[in-house]
Subunit: 109 residues, 2 copies
């Protein structure tokens, strides 16, 4: 088995959205776990203020990760967060969070 592939979503969250944000992850849909090639994930909360949360997911391959981002499971897993983003936009508010995916190969363990 290959060492695998890692995607990290760097998420910055508005202060007034933190408790909702953490609740969404604590009660997450786990739809991602039905994807072929998914290995594991972890949601990391920074100890230092001003740092983003990291959502780290391990995959068999980059292709498996890319397939997830185009899947119904991706939409299912992000449904409540996407709803919150849409509602903020519709009411003229700033987005409650911003996120950016960065991707990695596993050099060694």
């Amino acid at each position: 088995m290959s060492k695998g592939f890692v995607a990290i979503n760097f998420i910055r969250c508005e202060p007034n959205y933190v408790s909702r944000f953490e609740e969404l992850f604590r009660t997450r849909a786990r739809a991602i776990e039905r994807m072929a090639g998914f290995r594991s994930m972890a949601v990391l909360k920074p100890k230092q203020s001003g740092e983003p949360y990291l959502v780290v997911s391990h995959w068999d391959s980059e292709e498996a990760f890319e397939a997830w981002t185009r899947s119904p499971e991706f939409l299912e897993g992000h449904r409540r967060g996407f709803d919150d983003m849409r509602k903020a936009k519709e009411s003229g508010q700033n987005p409650p969070m911003t996120s950016e995916f960065k991707t990695y190969e596993i050099l060694t363990d």
Copy 2:
């Protein structure tokens, strides 16, 4: 068992040091694996240019991580890298890499 604690070393590497840097990790001393409370680690190589390498280590607790940073195993595991840093400094060169630890609690998996 608690969800645990994660430390990530964000390492930026000079272009002319990349091959040496990767070789050091591929042949790493594995001294860290003798530490109480150590769970696992992964060295992540960014797919996007300009991004840092991430050295991710999982621990039972923040205390276990902190104990490692003060241990003989920490010096043993970093000996060749620290030697390279010292030689660069002695010859008036820029450091071949810069690094910064950030720490996290595991909100959920």
